[in-house]
């Protein structure tokens, strides 16, 4: 019961955050000085501008425009649709609904981020356990120094380096392009998965994963060191449980709470971080769409992308919180008392 109230409160908080995000992006577009129709589509024809003015209801007062944008039933203007009705606006240069564009590009990005997360965790967990086990030794320092070096390597530098060495010089993998993967058909039936898909994903995935490995590894290492000092580990050692089993069976699980939280929340951030990687490797995901929208000054389209990304971020946040509350009785109790 207390947990339920807690979840309800978190839900409300996150909903407020989302609402404020929409208000912020909405105000940005509207508060630009000058004729909004002209600012929003500087390269558009008069006809496109008229369509825009009608879509946005620019003749209405500011707050009414915002209500219409959200699409709140009852108080919105008659005959309009907003976010709540699933209307994400239009790309004015091509007249495509933004919702369609997102349906095609979002799965590509999510797929990329999931791959990157899996690779990052697969590398970070053994490394984190190793460095915690050998804390203070030469191995520990060597791994840490390497990780430190990789942290100073921006995504775009690593992307270009891989693309030059492995793509252009060694010619092992393609440097740009995309083939549909397993997530695409779920959203867009026009694409079918193929094995080629993986070839195109290797370099972008490595690029995105490398930066994460360093972060995840460090998190796991510190938690693991704390766990290894606990009594139940001493107990296990006394019983003669082999080291490998102690590390991976006894110590890993209680040490992984922070790591999993960060990894979960990072999905939203990674989609943003994937923009430059997608652009460099020519992957038709959300990142490429955002970059194109910026170049074409498609503010309405951009507004919707920001909304979708914020929505994903808030959603994941909520799920992670939910798991946290379920997993750790200490949090449940403390929060219920408060």
């Amino acid at each position: 019961m207390a947990a339920l109230r807690l979840i309800a409160r978190r839900f409300l908080q996150l909903a407020v955050v989302l609402l404020l995000v929409t208000f912020f992006t909405f105000s940005l577009v509207r508060l630009l000085p000058g004729d909004p129709a002209k600012t929003i589509i500087p390269f558009g024809s008069d006809q496109q501008r008229a369509a825009l003015a009608k879509d946005l209801g620019l003749d209405k007062p500011f707050l009414q425009q915002y209500v219409n944008y959200l699409g709140i039933p009852v108080i919105k203007s008659e005959g309009t649709t907003g976010l709540l009705q699933g209307n994400l606006g239009r790309k004015y240069s091509t007249n495509q609904p933004v919702g369609e564009l997102i349906k095609q590009s979002l799965p590509v990005s999510i797929q990329l981020v999931i791959y990157a997360q899996l690779v990052a965790l697969a590398l970070a967990i053994p490394l984190g356990v190793l460095t915690a086990y050998r804390a203070g030794t030469r191995t520990d320092r060597a791994v840490n120094t390497t990780a430190f070096g990789f942290l100073a390597l921006p995504n775009f530098v690593l992307a270009l380096l891989l693309s030059y060495v492995i793509g252009a010089r060694l010619k092992w993998l393609p440097t740009a392009g995309y083939e549909p993967g397993w997530l695409d058909p779920l959203f867009d039936s026009a694409r079918t998965p193929s094995v080629e898909h993986l070839k195109y994903m290797v370099l972008p995935v490595i690029t995105l994963a490398v930066g994460q490995v360093a972060i995840y590894m460090r998190l796991l290492r510190s938690d693991m060191i704390a766990t290894l000092q606990e009594n139940f580990i001493t107990m296990a050692k006394a019983k003669g449980v082999p080291n490998r089993r102690i590390l991976f069976r006894h110590a890993l699980r209680p040490s992984s709470l922070t790591l999993l939280t960060v990894a979960g929340l990072n999905v939203g951030t990674l989609i943003g971080g994937a923009i430059v990687v997608e652009v460099i490797f020519g992957i038709p995901g959300m990142g490429t769409q955002i970059a194109t929208a910026i170049a074409a000054r498609e503010y309405v389209e951009l507004q919707s992308y920001i909304f979708v990304l914020a929505f994903i971020f808030v959603l994941i946040n909520f799920v992670v919180d939910f798991c946290y509350i379920l997993l750790d009785p200490r949090i449940r109790r403390a929060r219920a008392d408060a």
Binding site: T39, A135, F156, A226, I275, A291, A334
Partner: protein, 344 residues
């Protein structure tokens, strides 16, 4: 199993259990915190923590880092003053175009590091580019520190409602991925400048504002956390008992203690901002050509990667060494300040 050495005690923020305790007290928003601080904390955590002790001189690594940063700053300033015997960074030498070390066309004599695709001297462009990159990054972080620091200080000092409002405002900005927010702000600010006929506004200023705004909640949160704990100390209570006004207490009692935390994060922040400028440049909205910056040298000639890799990798190396040095020094500063704080 080896005993963990005292050196291995994890830094604040990387310590899961301490986070949990704070969570239980209700002072820690779940999840959000970890992700938000990510950008900075990731850099903070990366160091070989605790390997440096008080009383010891700076290691060779720190001196190398200081040396590199000093070199970059001096080159940038002197190039901007026109003191250095450099070629004009915007003049094209046709015979040298696309040629340079490692290029498939070979090198051109008289140009040590070759030229870009327009035949502009790389050495000159890198030197002048240092100025743009450094001024944008430093400006943005200072902007973020002034505003984020003020909000953080107020939130941390007053607590309660004020804290709740400011923290949730930070959360709104943190719900948007940093790169996307920066991109959007650059686009909106440039649009605003253009539509009001102020297109003469220095594009660097727009970048400083955009990256600065993005860094406000990140720097603000760190200031807030520090201010929150210092505001509960006895000397703050004593000042309040003597009838000091909140502004005075914040500036005279809390701020001096919060400054070390802000300073150590400044170096890391500048590193992040340099990368941010590079990222924006690759996406075509960085420092506007023909003015060079490390990022836009890469962005302009990204398509030449195969034939003339030197155009891309020379500025990439500058970015790498600078970010590495800043991260390293930030880490040294943080390690030293932590020691001092715990000795209080």
């Amino acid at each position: 199993m080896p005993e963990p050495t005292p050196d291995a005690v994890p830094p604040v923020g990387a310590d899961g259990n301490r986070d949990l305790d704070r969570y239980a007290e209700g002072s820690l928003e779940p999840g959000l915190v970890v992700a938000q601080a990510n950008l900075y904390v990731s850099a903070v955590e990366s160091g070989g923590e605790g390997t440096r002790r008080v009383g010891r001189g700076l290691g060779i690594g720190a001196w190398l880092a200081i040396g590199w940063l000093a070199f970059i700053v001096i080159v940038a300033v002197l190039a901007q003053l026109g003191v250095l015997p450099l070629k004009d960074p915007n003049r094209s030498y046709v015979s040298c175009a696309r040629r340079g070390p490692f290029s498939t066309d070979g090198t051109a004599s008289g140009f040590l590091l070759g030229c870009d695709s327009n035949g502009r001297d790389m050495i000159a462009r890198l030197a002048y580019g240092s100025w743009s990159s450094l001024i944008v990054a430093t400006g943005a972080v200072l902007f973020g520190l002034v505003f984020g620091g003020t909000f953080g200080l107020i939130a941390g000092y007053f607590g309660r409602r004020t804290d709740a409002v400011i923290t949730s405002l930070f959360n709104v900005f943190l719900a948007i991925p940093a790169v996307v927010l920066a991109l959007a702000l650059v686009a909106f600010l440039a649009g605003a400048a253009a539509s009001t006929g102020r297109s003469s506004v220095d594009p660097k200023l727009i970048l400083i504002l955009a990256i600065g705004i993005v860094s406000i909640p990140l720097l603000g949160r760190i200031t807030r956390a520090s201010a929150l704990s210092w505001s509960q100390r006895e000397f703050v209570l004593a000042a309040r008992a003597q009838g000091a006004k909140p502004v005075r207490i914040m500036l005279r009692e809390v701020l001096p203690n919060v400054l070390p935390a802000m300073f150590s994060i400044t170096l890391l922040g500048i590193a992040v901002a340099i990368v941010a400028e590079g990222t924006l440049s690759i996406l075509g909205v960085g420092v506007r050509p023909p003015t060079p910056s490390w990022g836009n040298i890469i962005g302009l000639d990204r398509g030449r990667l195969k034939e003339s890799p030197h155009i891309i990798f020379l500025p990439a190396l500058m970015i790498f060494f600078t970010v590495l040095s800043l991260n390293f020094l930030g880490d040294v500063v943080r390690a030293r300040l932590d020691v001092r704080e715990s000795a209080v």
